[in-house]
Symmetry: C2
Subunit: 203 residues, 2 copies
DNA sequence: CGAACAATTGAATCCTTTCAAAGGGAGTGG
DNA sequence: CCACTCCCTTTGAAAGGATTCAATTGTTCG
């Protein structure tokens, strides 16, 4: 896995644009990145949030999505050639597996039928990968979350408020919350327990 | 890519179950396969339909989904070990790329906001990979389509009927149709033209 | 022919969106 | 330091769309 450059980007900056030739793929060192597709009718679909050690930008020829910094980020940039030359380069498979796991996480969220279920599943997912130090951070906007869950920002806001009202979570400003009742959230999501069948590592 | 067995399954039969150890992955020779996740609340999410040359069952440790035959199918079964041993085996990367492309196709469908848009996008996708010989075949049930698009079978049925009423398609029984107005369908989907940025092969 | 299953359609309900407005926090400039 | 602006968030009310409940039709298979 050669050709690794480290890149620093400020909040809101673009890593690459949908349609650009996919010359690199990226690994998050710190901060959060979002990837989005823009549909023909102009609306935005957010296909993932990427945290430390997550990879994004794994595409064949041209990028299928735009990638932007949600917070200030540090990235490692790798040459995409090693994905084309493929199996000769060590670690390629792991990168693709990570990309696949990210895609499945997105699909998993969409599998939930109602706004309450989708938002609950999203909060659980965020809480699970958060450092769990002092509460769960939501650095992305309500609009980002909405475009990720295929809802409007109003519905997202209402639903989060409702969870707080019902005592499932406690809000500490719009970007920070505590999970008070994980089982209650899981019930709202319609998921039993650990059905996070995404891409279980075996090695 | 060693250890290839050919398997024949009748309509409705299970290839593997969600949660089973992922000892093999599969390639469709003929027929159609569906993969589904069952959520905690019992409802089914259909994560993909697989046609000739598509691959499915690419998982790390345990299968994240159940796979079933939609029609009678012929499959090639490969040992999953080559995915774990990974980069040493030639062709591994291509398999993962195909799996990633399938996942992105699913995400793409969900990116559409309304029932009309999702059904239209689905029909376009099916029509594109159909042999285009004598119309588009829909061997799966309305319920399958509904669980794939996160709609009810009623809404799917109504929407398809509506497309037929508006002259975008012509129905020849529930399982067969012609696309009369592809641009009209695309407009209904909210997609301009070829924004099928999924996983463009470069090699 | 009857039974079982799939698809279609109607009507009422419920949920999400849309339209509209107000509150809150960060940053700038007077 | 305060006022002002801008953007994000929250919340209300009305409108629209999908689901639910219910019934009918059509097809396949025994």
């Amino acid at each position: 896995m050669p050709e690794c450059h480290v890149i620093s980007l400020q909040k809101g900056m673009v890593v690459y644009n949908q349609g650009d030739p996919a010359r690199h793929w990226y690994e998050v060192v710190s901060g959060i990145v979002r990837t989005c597709r823009f549909h023909g009718d102009g609306h935005r679909q957010l296909t993932g949030f990427y945290y430390s050690d997550d990879v994004f930008g794994v595409d064949g020829d041209a990028y299928s999505e735009t990638a932007e910094a949600v917070t200030p980020v540090l990235l490692r940039r790798y040459s995409a050639k090693c994905l084309d030359e493929a199996d000769s380069v060590a670690g390629t498979s792991k990168v693709l597996q990570k990309a696949l796991a990210s895609a499945r996480q997105c699909i998993f969220l969409f599998g939930h039928r109602t706004a309450h279920a989708r938002v609950a599943a999203f909060l659980i997912a965020i809480a699970e990968r958060a450092d769990a130090g002092d509460g769960v951070q939501l650095p992305m906007t309500r609009s980002d979350i909405a475009d990720h869950l295929n809802l409007t920002l109003h519905t997202v806001s209402r639903t989060i408020s409702d969870f707080a009202r019902r005592g499932l979570i406690a809000l500490d400003g719009p970007q920070s919350l505590w999970v008070l009742d994980l089982d209650g959230l899981r019930a709202a999501a319609g998921d039993t327990g650990d059905d996070t069948f995404l891409f279980r590592e075996s090695a």
